[in-house]
């Protein structure tokens, strides 16, 4: 009981929110992308690129916010490769995604070496600091969990809500969903499939880049090779868990965030660190296997649209 009290603190839940943030951003990107019918395996690489760009920009301008902006823009631009290959060239989306991941790994390593003349990691840079929301931050528990966080975390709350709204309550959202389910039907009522899919892929790229910036500028304040650490894939599982909805994706991400936040506090139980590190990955498998039966993916997912 005493031990439990020691673990279940506001700090644990604050950690959950923090750790869930890059996953949630990526998962929502994945949701929007897959809702339009494109599988985005490349999210892993997009996080990596976002992280790297944010660090480079922050390093040279001294402004972390410009770093965030750079990460969003470059993430979006990079995702255009996925869009072009899978929409125009009708290539296998999983293969293209893998190419982007490997390329991103190589490119970020290459540029780390080229720019900083160091292998493996960059020097530290200006990051983003926590912002305490006046008054609210003093509420016991709630304040510490929600209102003493860093800026991109706040931004994420907003993104969760707005993306849910866009996907289900707006014109463009209806069109994205239609295109992912039955592109030909959408085509016959005059919707431009390519445009919608480009838009969805680009949004996912921007969100992936933002996720990378969050990791780099709010968490470790530098770039380390392969720092994405499988988050792109975990995010895809969170998206399946959330039945392809932004709020569901966020909840799925919180589940992972909780597991990982817990792992930081499990030292008490003397579990070897290697096993603690396995938790999110094992959880992903369990969540995916459990969620798969209940949820159906968009019908046209992974299939290129051929307009005769």
């Amino acid at each position: 009981m005493e031990q439990l009290k020691e673990i279940l603190t506001p700090a644990l839940f604050a950690g959950m929110i923090r750790i869930a943030t890059p996953l949630a951003l990526t998962a929502i990107g994945g949701t929007i992308c897959e809702r339009s019918g494109i599988v985005n395996i490349a999210l892993e690489g997009l996080i990596l690129i976002g992280a790297f760009i944010s660090v480079v920009v922050s390093y040279f301008t001294g402004s972390a916010w410009l770093g965030v902006l750079g990460a969003i823009i470059v993430g979006a631009l990079f995702s255009l490769i996925l869009a072009y290959f899978s929409i125009n060239l009708r290539a296998d989306q999983v293969v293209v995604g893998t190419a982007i991941n490997i390329f991103a790994l190589g490119a970020t390593g290459f540029l780390t070496d080229f720019i900083f003349k160091e292998a493996g990691a960059t020097p530290g840079v200006a990051g983003l600091n926590p912002i305490k929301i006046p008054i609210l931050c003093n509420i016991p528990w709630i304040g510490e969990i929600f209102f003493q966080q860093k800026p991109i975390i706040y931004l994420t709350f907003f993104i969760v809500a707005i993306s849910q709204f866009i996907l289900f309550k707006t014109q463009i959202g209806l069109r994205i969903r239609a295109v992912g389910e039955h592109p030909r039907a959408a085509d016959t009522v005059g919707i431009n499939i390519y445009k919608i899919r480009y838009l969805a892929v680009t949004i996912s790229g921007a969100l992936g880049g933002l996720a990378g910036a969050q990791l780099a500028l709010e968490e470790i304040r530098r770039f380390v090779e392969y720092m994405s650490g499988g988050r792109g894939f975990i995010a895809l599982a969170a998206n399946v868990f959330g039945k392809w909805t932004p709020i569901g994706s966020w909840l799925g991400s919180l589940l992972f965030g909780f597991a990982q936040a817990l792992e930081l506090r499990l030292g008490i139980f003397k579990i070897p660190p290697e096993f603690v590190k396995m938790i999110p990955y094992a959880l992903t498998i369990i969540v995916l296997a459990g969620a798969m039966g209940r949820a159906t993916a968009p019908a046209a997912i992974g299939k290129p649209y051929v307009k005769d």
């Binding site: 060239l89 293969v95 190589g106 290459f110 080229f114 894939f233 599982a237 296997a289």
Partner: protein, 383 residues
């Protein structure tokens, strides 16, 4: 009257057949080779542009890459040594692909294979004739097991293997870290490395059995031959056996396979199991043939490079051998490229990524060929 027309038609078809078979011969032997070669050149060309942009000298870089990969006995054997695990992981990815599955967790399966082999190779002493096969079998089974779970999950729940194999891969990497540091640990050092394996568990060096002067004193071991034999075996299984037939049938069209009495689930599980075994063997052969001990995180991303190998080889087991040697050479040469031309060694990853892009884009060329073929057939005669 009617038969007359049909005879004429038949004649025309036969004549066209002859022509068709003629250019078939050409397209059958030459084209499949030309396309990947073209893609390699394309990738290196794009790589050169990237180097130019960043102010490196691509010519110098590629010269030193080629020198580092192929000039001198040491470099050549290094290339071949690099290719050994890549042949296995390439086969692993290719085999799963043939069943329509994307095994991107070969890295973890490789570690599991390494673990099992290292364990058998350090725990017991046996005559080499038994010990070596035993560690290979152990490695293959361990790797197979690691892909078996994603197989079961795919078959039973539909969980996408891209995510599950990837997650299992991470778990495998951490598990092997733990076991190396805590169970197999070499007590004589603080480094994260296992005990050295017994002599009886080592794969023989090639210079011990073949009197090739060029190989004298090199580390090239019979694992290279084992890899090639495995590739031939996989080719045979895919092409000539009912197992391969079913795996390919499920890969192309699971619904039709099911309708013809072929179990989708069984073949998914089997294909991932065999795929995992091949990746596990990569680990076994690395330990028994080259390193003789298991270092934490020793794999140079062989599992991921295996994806590029398989894709470049278009999942053809024989093609895998050549693609693996190419990437083995790139990795061997990459180091001298860094030393001589100052190009960061990550350039080799970039090249790998571009190769996969080229493969992805190649599907379009295929589509054009298919459309052309269809057109020609439509002209030959349909009912």
């Amino acid at each position: 009257m009617k038969t007359d027309i049909r005879d004429k038609e038949k004649n025309i078809i036969e004549r066209k057949n002859k022509n068709k078979f003629k250019d078939n011969k050409l397209s059958k032997t030459l084209l499949p080779m030309l396309v990947p070669i073209g893609m390699i050149f394309f990738s290196f060309f794009v790589g050169a542009i990237i180097m130019l942009i960043f102010g490196y000298d691509p010519i110098q870089a590629y010269v030193s890459l080629i020198r580092g990969a192929f000039v001198g006995n040491f470099n050549i054997t290094q290339t071949l040594l690099n290719s050994v695990p890549l042949i296995f992981t390439g086969l692993a990815v290719a085999f799963a692909f043939r069943c329509g599955l994307f095994n991107i967790g070969a890295e973890g399966q490789l570690y599991l294979g390494s673990l099992a082999s290292t364990y058998i190779a350090t725990a017991i002493i046996l005559p080499a004739i038994l010990h070596v096969p035993l560690i290979l079998i152990a490695g293959a089974l361990a790797g197979g097991l690691w892909a078996f779970l994603p197989g079961i999950l795919k078959a039973k729940t539909g969980s996408h293997e891209v995510i599950t194999t990837m997650m299992m891969s991470w778990i495998g990497v951490f598990l092997s870290s733990y076991i190396i540091r805590n169970i197999l640990k070499d007590p004589r050092t603080d480094l994260p490395v296992s005990k050295t394996i017994y002599k009886s568990a080592e794969l023989i060096k090639i210079d011990k059995i073949l009197p090739i002067p060029a190989l004298k004193g090199t580390r090239l071991h019979i694992g290279f031959f084992i890899a090639i034999l495995t590739a031939l075996l996989i080719w045979y299984i895919l092409k000539k056996t009912t197992i391969g037939y079913e795996v390919r049938a499920v890969g192309f069209n699971p619904y039709a396979s099911e309708y013809a009495g072929i179990s989708i689930g069984k073949n998914i599980i089997l294909a991932l199991f065999i795929s995992g075994m091949l990746a596990g063997l990569a680990g076994s052969v690395e330990i028994a043939g080259l390193h003789h001990k298991l270092w934490d995180r020793y794999s140079a991303m062989y599992g991921f490079t295996g994806i590029a190998v398989a894709l470049l080889a278009k999942n053809n087991p024989i093609g895998v051998i050549f693609a693996a040697i190419l990437f083995g050479a790139t990795q061997a040469g990459g180091k001298s490229m860094q030393l001589d031309a100052n190009v960061p060694v990550d350039m080799t990853d970039i090249l790998e990524g571009i190769v996969i892009f080229a493969v992805a884009a190649e599907e379009i060329i295929k589509m054009f060929i298919r459309a052309r073929e269809k057109r020609r057939l439509a002209q030959i005669g349909t009912t």
